[in-house]
């Protein structure tokens, strides 16, 4: 007798609605056991991770600031993944976008070039990200090379290029030779939405990206094409959809969004180019995309939720003296449960004994 998966004849709507709840319940139960094992009061610990950050304005703002790049990148990745194009190099595209956009800021430093600078930086960042994403996409389309691995390899290359620039040619001449560019001029810095906080104009762009992606996927022919190519490649071929061109398009969009997120981080919260500009946003965004079921609105929710675990993780280090690694464990467990529960939307689990299998035969 064994447990087997069985495809449902249609998606289970009930489970689709309930699976996040089930996943969160399972996560909380598992964490309760973990915290008890660590000798912490589980209720208090869970409250610090998941509830305290929601109870004050500052933490809420910080959640939004942290979630913004994650959501923006994940929205682009979702389009890719929906079309069966596997871009896992968003981190590299983010870095290239940040580098290219910062190039303008560095070149115009001290010249007060006018209000065109900020939009130009954002545009250049997005274009550079798109161009960098097109490298693996073209390799896949032209040569059939794995886009997963090429996009991943290019992450390291981008990181080393950034390192070279800020330690070499772009280094702040007045900065005691430390590896950063000069601080960006006000014209090259994103305006704040709430004075005194870190809530910057990039959040608006993120919201626009979410809405645009939702409309694109749900309401346009391109979105239809993405969905068909992803779910039924053979049907898509009969319909005359060009899967190759779609790989290029979705890679370009996701690269552009990642590049945009990169330049927003640099021109917003950081304010200068330096060796360390992203704590792995491009990789975390992959998780955000899956947690949000590759749906732009779902990603909005999952991005905020994951940001909550980061902020909560810091508060847990402060309040409970829990190690930072705990945050990774929580995120890993959560991700497994969410994915596992979502699997039940498409499949059901059945006990099956060998005898019955024999009776029914291979069909």
């Amino acid at each position: 007798m064994s447990l087997v998966l069985e495809r449902r004849s249609e998606r289970s709507v009930a489970i689709a609605l309930l699976s996040p709840l089930l996943a969160i319940t399972l996560t909380l139960l598992t964490l309760t056991i973990v915290f008890v094992a660590l000798g912490k009061n589980p209720a208090a610990a869970l409250a610090v991770y998941f509830i305290t950050p929601l109870t004050d304005g500052y933490s809420l703002q910080e959640i939004a600031v942290k979630a913004s790049p994650l959501i923006m990148i994940a929205v682009g990745l979702a389009l890719c993944y929906r079309a069966n194009a596997w871009n896992i190099g968003a981190e590299g595209q983010l870095l290239i976008g940040a580098i290219a956009g910062s190039g303008l800021a560095v070149m115009t430093h001290g010249t007060n070039p006018g209000p065109w600078l900020m939009p130009a930086m954002l545009l250049v960042g997005a274009l550079a990200g798109a161009a960098y994403a097109l490298i693996p996409a073209l390799c896949k389309v032209r040569f059939g090379a794995s886009e997963i691995l090429i996009s991943l390899m290019l992450v390291y290359v981008a990181g080393l290029l950034l390192d070279y620039l800020v330690r070499g040619p772009w280094r702040d001449p007045a900065g005691f030779n430390f590896p950063t560019t000069a601080e960006f001029d006000p014209a090259a810095t994103l305006p704040l939405l709430i004075a005194g906080s870190r809530v910057h104009a990039g959040l608006i762009l993120t919201m626009i990206a979410v809405v645009a992606a939702a409309v694109l996927l749900g309401r346009t022919l391109k979105g239809f094409e993405i969905r068909v190519v992803g779910t039924a490649p053979r049907a898509a071929r009969f319909a005359g959809f060009n899967a190759d061109r779609l790989v290029l398009t979705t890679f370009a969009i996701s690269g552009a969004l990642a590049g945009l997120a990169g330049i927003i981080e640099v021109a917003g919260p950081i304010g200068r180019l330096q060796p360390d500009i992203s704590p792995g946003y491009g990789f975390t965004a992959i998780i955000v995309a899956f947690l949000g079921r590759l749906n732009p609105l779902g990603i909005l929710a999952s991005g905020l939720f994951l940001a909550l675990t980061f902020i909560g993780g810091e508060q847990a280090q402060i309040a409970l003296k829990l190690p930072q690694d705990m945050t990774g464990v929580i995120q890993g467990i959560l991700l497994f449960y969410v994915l596992a529960c979502d699997s039940l939307i498409l499949y059901r689990i059945r006990w099956r004994s060998p005898q019955r299998k024999a009776l029914h035969g291979p069909l």
């Binding site: 087997v4 998966l5 090379a145 997963i148 390899m153 190690p323 705990m326 995120q331 499949y347």
Partner: protein, 305 residues
């Protein structure tokens, strides 16, 4: 010891963890499963391997602990990606995140602890042969094990029924299923084997490479191992060549610096990654028309009753 011989020795050491991890991933991928969690499994193998060796004083027990830890974490992946047909990319990343976090938690008490390195073989006469003596007869046991492992893999894949079934499951799971093979069970075994190898590769770092434990000490080798499998176009022989090439690039760039060639070190560090991209493109281009990858790689298989 001449410079040439010394460089070769360093390259072997640098290649071994890559070869071990990539060997396991090769089997996993040949069965049609893409497990991106190699880095996480290596880290957990590194810390558990160290813990085992530290507690018992035995490298062998440490290696076994590393293997066990890798298998355990890959079992989680198997349950998710095979048992529940979850997207393999997502499940693999979850393994890496979880493995990194767990390794940090488990490893905290072992920081700053010391163990004796895995002993090196020494045979009278043979090890003393100039140039090749140490290279062939002076390595630690895990180096020989890794070579034996990849030879066994090559044999099994090419010459045995098991290998044939494994490849069938990776290329055409539906037909394999129709022929009466249990695709899920075969794939699960392949994933567990891959996890064991990754765990051992991690343990190699803490038992032989640098015999101590530090957080994050795999430093991206798991990702390189993934690249290697593709680099080798899923062939065991090329995997050995690829591992040596990767090891060689990482060692030679340090030598180039020590000589004072004046090339930016960032460019040197980027070389292995650029080389992978280039080779990926080249091998894919040469074989255009016929795919080199296992046909069902990365896709879940759920039998239609």
């Amino acid at each position: 010891m001449g410079l040439f011989e010394a460089i070769l020795l360093s390259i072997v050491t640098a290649s071994t963890p890559l070869l071990l991890a990539a060997s396991g991933e090769l089997i996993t991928e040949r069965a049609g499963v893409l497990n991106l969690g190699v880095e996480g499994m290596m880290l957990i193998g590194a810390v558990c391997g160290f813990a085992g060796a530290w507690a018992t004083g035995s490298t062998a027990i440490g290696a076994l602990c590393g293997i066990a830890a890798g298998v355990a974490l890959s079992a989680l992946f198997a349950a998710a990606a095979i048992g529940l047909a979850i997207n393999q990319v997502a499940a693999g990343l979850a393994v890496t995140i979880l493995g990194t976090g767990l390794a940090g938690l488990i490893g905290a008490p072992f920081v700053g602890e010391n163990i004796t390195a895995a002993p090196h073989l020494w045979l009278p006469w043979l090890t003393d042969i100039p140039l090749i003596g140490k290279l062939l007869f002076g390595q630690d046991a895990l180096v020989y094990l890794s070579i034996g492992l990849i030879a066994a893999i090559a044999y099994v894949l090419a010459r045995t029924r098991t290998g044939l079934i494994l490849r069938a499951v990776g290329d055409d799971p539906a037909s394999a299923h129709a022929l009466g093979y249990n695709v899920a069970a075969i794939r699960t075994r392949a994933v567990l084997f891959g996890g064991g190898c990754a765990g051992l590769a991690g343990a190699y770092l803490t038992l032989a490479y640098t015999p101590f434990y530090a957080p994050g000490m795999t430093a991206g080798r798991g990702w390189i191992a993934l690249a290697l499998v593709v680099f080798a176009s899923w062939r065991p022989g090329r995997l050995v060549a690829g591992a040596i090439l990767f090891g060689a690039v990482s060692i030679l760039q340090l030598h180039a610096q020590a000589i004072g060639l004046g090339v930016p070190s960032q460019l040197m560090s980027a070389l292995p990654y650029l080389a992978t991209v280039l080779v990926l493109v080249l091998i894919s281009r040469v074989r255009r028309g016929g795919s080199v990858a296992p046909a069902a790689l990365g896709t879940a298989f759920v039998p239609e009753r």
